[in-house]
């Protein structure tokens, strides 16, 4: 049920993000969603793409430092309280969220929230038990 996220190490300087997106474009990789974590000197670009293995390979070939991380995608109706309903359960169960980001599905009805947990297995178990829709990687890559 886990989703693979690609993380790329980037220096904080003009052109470094452009280089990464160029490599992905040339390899015909489609980005489903992304986020950037940044510090004063460096950033980490986190991506969900349609072809994880290919993206991983072309980025490495082009000298990027790449990391694959397991994240969990949860689908909720795109309306007030959607995210809160998940956070409430996670809070009750004592599950820690390292970071999260989100996008809205093409249909516009649902939002997909990408979570990074310390313990993804436990989180999936809790989410499923509480009737949340956990989106498997294969489905997410094809959205």
């Amino acid at each position: 049920m886990k989703v693979e996220q690609i993380s790329i190490f980037l220096e904080n300087r003009p052109g470094s993000l452009e280089h990464a997106t160029r490599v992905l474009e040339e390899a015909n990789i489609n980005i489903r969603t992304l986020t950037v974590a940044e510090t004063a000197d460096f950033g980490i670009l986190r991506l969900i793409v349609n072809d994880v293995e290919k993206a991983n390979a072309v980025l490495k070939e082009n000298g990027f430092r790449v990391n694959k991380t397991a994240v969990v995608a949860v689908e909720v109706p795109d309306r007030p309280g959607g995210l809160h309903s998940i956070m409430k359960v996670l809070g009750q169960e004592g599950i820690n969220v390292e970071y999260l980001y989100a996008f809205v599905e093409k249909s516009g009805e649902n939002a997909v929230i990408i979570f990074r947990f310390d313990n993804p297995e436990k989180a999936i178990e809790v989410l499923l038990a509480n009737k949340f829709t956990v989106v498997p990687g294969a489905k997410l890559y094809e959205f």
Binding site: S7, F9, L10, E11, S16, A37, E38, T39, D41, F42, I44, K60, G63, F64, R65, V66, N67, K68, T69, E98
Partner: protein, 435 residues
């Protein structure tokens, strides 16, 4: 003014007679007590008895920093540890640091030479000395301290850092002399400016500067800002610490080497050939009186020239010019000696780091700054691909640089292949400072 007029003004002939006698004693002693010297003299085919004059000195093999490192920590000590009363050491991780021992008599000699230095700068027991050199393993702080006490001056053992407190004490205690690196003097003046303190209004009369290069321009600037006389000393921890040479108040061109305790030569750093007096070359020192840690023909890495003209102060001892160049890749960061190889050792000791790095040295205000750019390795990022973990690595590097090398570094993780991968450590340094 002299602390020990007899020895400081000894006529050259008498001085040289004393030097050769002392040199012969040193050679006998090290040859028979320190394994390194027996090996190196035997390899060079020289016996201590072969050294009959000062010109015979050149028959003896050189010693370098790596000889010191290879004998880490106590391999070059010429006395048993029970006779050693003090240990000092240079920065560096285990095996890359160098350790110096002193007997009671060595400490007394050192104190006397520092007393001579301070008296040459015009200090007396009526002076209050603000010593802003770091105390501890670093030799300069304690060296200055013992010398100042020896002449009966009142010492303020400030050590480095805490600039605001330093300025408060400069105002409240009214020291008449300050000892620190020239860049720290400029830094204090900057801080004083921010606090609205007129540095000229302080009671300071003289500054004793060293542990890093000091150009005439910097000295002039310090003199102007503080309204003091700025004098330079020469020190080298391996040879003793401060107290090897001192600029006198009367001459003010070059630092007198206390030749009754040290022999100094200049050599061509490439060929090792001894240069005629007055030619620019690498300074080589031989200690004549040290008991615990004698050194024979130690290559200092400092480039200078010998000044043999008689000095108006009356000292018979020769002088060396201020040091502004090195024969190796040693960096001086806020008075601390740092070799790129030591930085590399710090990095490779941290698991997962690739030793692709660059050192960028610059000035931040008056003070030196060191930025270390380190490439993120595949291993590091695949195992610790989070901001938190990468920041932990940065913190670890900063801490190890401070703990092992005594240097505050700024660390910047960079993408692979952004740094020049040139072999050799010197290529990994960009020094933007102007000396």
């Amino acid at each position: 003014m002299f602390y020990n007029e007899e020895f400081e003004t000894l006529p050259r002939e008498a001085l040289q007679a004393m030097q050769i006698k002392r040199l012969q004693q040193v050679l006998q002693r090290v040859y028979h007590t320190v394994g390194h010297y027996k090996k190196s003299l035997d390899a060079a085919g020289v016996k201590p008895d072969d050294i009959k004059s000062l010109t015979d000195l050149r028959k003896l093999p050189f010693m370098t920093r790596s000889d010191l490192q290879n004998n880490y920590p106590f391999g070059l000590f010429a006395v048993p540890m029970s006779s050693v009363v003090r240990l000092h050491a240079s920065a560096g991780t285990s095996g890359r640091s160098t350790v110096f021992g002193y007997t009671k008599r060595d400490v007394d000699t050192w104190s006397e030479l520092m007393a001579r230095s301070l008296v040459a700068a015009g200090l007396t027991k009526n002076d209050i000395v603000h010593n802003a050199f770091g105390y501890g393993l670093f030799t300069t702080g304690l060296g200055m301290h013992f010398g100042a006490e020896k002449i009966g001056a009142s010492v303020i053992p400030m050590s480095g850092g805490n600039s605001k407190r330093q300025i408060m004490i400069l105002q409240d205690f009214g020291p008449t002399a300050i000892c620190c690196t020239p860049s720290y003097a400029l830094h204090l003046a900057e801080q004083g400016g921010v606090l609205g303190v007129d540095m000229k209004a302080l009671k300071l009369r003289v500054g004793i500067f060293g542990a890093e290069p000091c150009s005439q321009q910097v000295c002039d600037e310090i003199e102007k800002i503080y309204g003091i006389t700025a004098l330079n000393f020469y020190g080298l921890s391996e040879v003793m610490g401060p107290g090897i040479g001192m600029e006198c108040l009367e001459g003010r061109n070059g630092m007198h080497i206390f030749e009754d305790h040290f022999l100094v030569e200049t050599i061509d750093p490439q060929t090792g050939e001894v240069l005629p007096e007055g030619a620019e070359g690498e300074l080589v020192f031989t200690t004549l009186t040290k008991e615990a840690f004698p050194l024979v023909r130690y290559r200092s890495g400092d480039i200078s020239r010998l000044i043999t003209d008689p000095c108006r102060c009356g000292r018979s001892h020769i002088k060396i010019e201020r040091i502004v160049k090195r024969s190796d890749d040693m960096l001086i960061i806020r008075g601390v000696n740092v070799f790129p190889a030591q930085v590399e050792a710090v990095l490779t000791d941290i698991e997962g780091l690739e030793p692709h790095y660059q050192i960028i040295v610059d000035k931040s205000g008056a003070l030196d700054s060191l930025e270390l750019q380190v490439e993120v390795s595949e291993k590091t990022f695949s195992e610790s691909g989070s901001v938190k973990e990468l920041q932990n690595i940065e913190r670890r590097i900063i801490k190890d640089m401070k703990d092992y090398l005594g240097v505050s570094a700024r660390v910047k993780l960079v993408e692979p292949n952004t740094l020049q991968h040139t072999p050799g450590q010197a290529a990994k340094v960009i020094d933007k400072r102007r000396i």
